[in-house]
């Protein structure tokens, strides 16, 4: 029997009738056509499907769409605003943080969760936070650099208005 769900994805409200066994990642990709969220291992190991569910990094291949009823979801498509890249997206571009790019949306969503809690993470903090995201191109070094670059960018923009006033 289908169940009705109401979710807010990247600021837009949606209501659908879904089968209880529909995974959240398939709801996002196949129903909403938000294909930036990838399916990698499909066993909650690789992190390619990471999104934010009520602000928390979540592997949505291991969540049912019905569990997300009433929740706020952010996907990689929801990170940029008015055509301006999120500092993490800019950083991955600047620091060559991607090769094939398959893991990138998940990497960025997990890193965004980290930067919300820890605005100046050490290299160890970053590597620990990204434990649940695999890069099969093994480009971890530049991924870590990208997160450091984004953290600096975000803290610079946070102090910039005060400097302008002075």
């Amino acid at each position: 029997m289908n169940t009705s769900i109401h979710v807010t994805v990247n600021g837009v409200q949606y209501s659908h009738m879904v089968e209880p066994r529909l995974l959240l990642v398939n709801y996002l990709r196949d129903v909403l056509r938000l294909t930036g969220t990838h399916v990698g291992c499909d066993t909650s190991s690789c992190g390619a499907c990471t999104i934010h569910l009520n602000g928390k990094a979540t592997k949505c291949c291991t969540i049912l769409a019905v569990q997300a009823d009433g929740c706020e979801i952010t996907t990689i498509e929801g990170l940029s605003h008015n055509g301006e890249l999120h500092p993490l997206q800019e950083a991955f571009n600047e620091c060559h943080g991607l090769q094939c790019g398959f893991c990138t949306p998940g990497m960025i969503m997990t890193a965004a969760d980290l930067l919300q809690h820890n605005s100046q993470p050490s290299e160890t903090d970053i590597r620990h936070a990204l434990e649940g995201n695999f890069c099969r191109c093994t480009g971890y070094h530049n991924i870590v650099k990208s997160v450091q670059y984004a953290a600096e960018k975000i803290s610079e923009s946070a102090v910039a208005p005060a400097e302008v006033k002075a």
Binding site: T58, K59, T62, L64
Partner: protein, 277 residues
């Protein structure tokens, strides 16, 4: 991979959950981070899921009558970041931070982990060492099961088919207790190839529990007795390590042979005991 079809019911109270469990072949869905992977692989094929994710009362974490009470649906991250836990049960904070990864910690729950009773899960060793009691409720009311009686074998516990875990109750350790959780994680899954939880009390008693070593997590009474009332030093640590794992059927698999896992467990017990010295 998509699970086989099932019926779904979202409940808002524990009583509703228990009523729903009276149907055969119904399973509780909390964080889903053990159950959904098992369902995707058809290792589990319940006819119905009862989603308890909406029961706010099960997420409570509080101090009550000298005990720390953790609601069954508290996530690993909820526990890891909670000040009460950091203050009174620092090895729970340490252990929670080693479970899976950030995303898994955000959804997996302590109650789910205990009910699932994976032989390599972290919480079983921690609740055993902390002398916790598991509070469960069924159609006949509530009862409390000592953690030391709870785990009965591979993925099996004393939880009845129509019962649900509601909370984990841990006696607040007296001042001066030192605790640690030392773990050798399987590099991909982060489950424990060996995990050792130790709490040393100011009165000279020590609780020692292992996970990942046998079919279920267990307290190592041999090692505990070797240290009882003795100072934690090289001599007595070695005595405890030598006394550990007696009459334990150590698991061997393609990750770790029996001799290797036995060796690892003793190395991690030694590390843990030095950490509480």
């Amino acid at each position: 991979m998509i699970p086989a079809a099932f019926e779904y019911e979202k409940v808002t109270t524990v009583d509703e959950a228990i009523a729903a469990l009276s149907n055969d072949d119904t399973k509780i869905l909390a964080g889903g981070h053990s159950l959904i992977p098992a369902m995707k692989l058809r290792l589990s094929r319940p006819a119905k899921l009862v989603d308890i994710g909406g029961i706010a009362a099960l997420k409570d974490l509080k101090e009550e009558d000298g005990e720390i009470v953790i609601g069954a649906a508290a996530t690993h991250a909820d526990i890891m970041y909670h000040n009460l836990i950091r203050t009174h049960l620092p090895f729970f904070t340490e252990g929670a931070s080693m479970i899976g990864d950030v995303q898994v910690r955000n959804h997996g729950t302590i109650g789910g982990s205990l009910a699932h009773a994976d032989p390599a899960a972290d919480w079983p060793a921690l609740v055993l060492a902390a002398d916790a009691t598991i509070e469960v409720r069924g159609s006949d009311g509530s009862r409390r099961i000592k953690a030391t009686d709870f785990f009965t074998g591979l993925f099996t516990t004393r939880l009845g088919p129509n019962e649900i875990i509601t909370a984990v109750r841990i006696p607040k350790p007296a001042d001066g207790a030192k605790s640690t959780y030392q773990k050798f994680p399987q590099p991909a899954s982060r489950f424990a190839l060996v995990g050792c939880a130790v709490i040393r009390f100011a009165d000279g008693s020590t609780n020692i529990a292992f996970t990942g070593v046998a079919e279920n997590a267990f307290r190592d009474s041999g090692a505990e007795q070797a240290l009882a009332g003795k100072p934690v030093n090289e001599e007595h640590i070695t005595a405890a390590v030598n006394a550990a794992l007696q009459n334990v059927d150590v698991l061997g698999d393609h990750y770790a042979s029996i001799p290797y896992r036995t060796h690892l467990a003793k190395v991690f017990l030694r590390k843990a005991l030095w950490a509480v010295k």
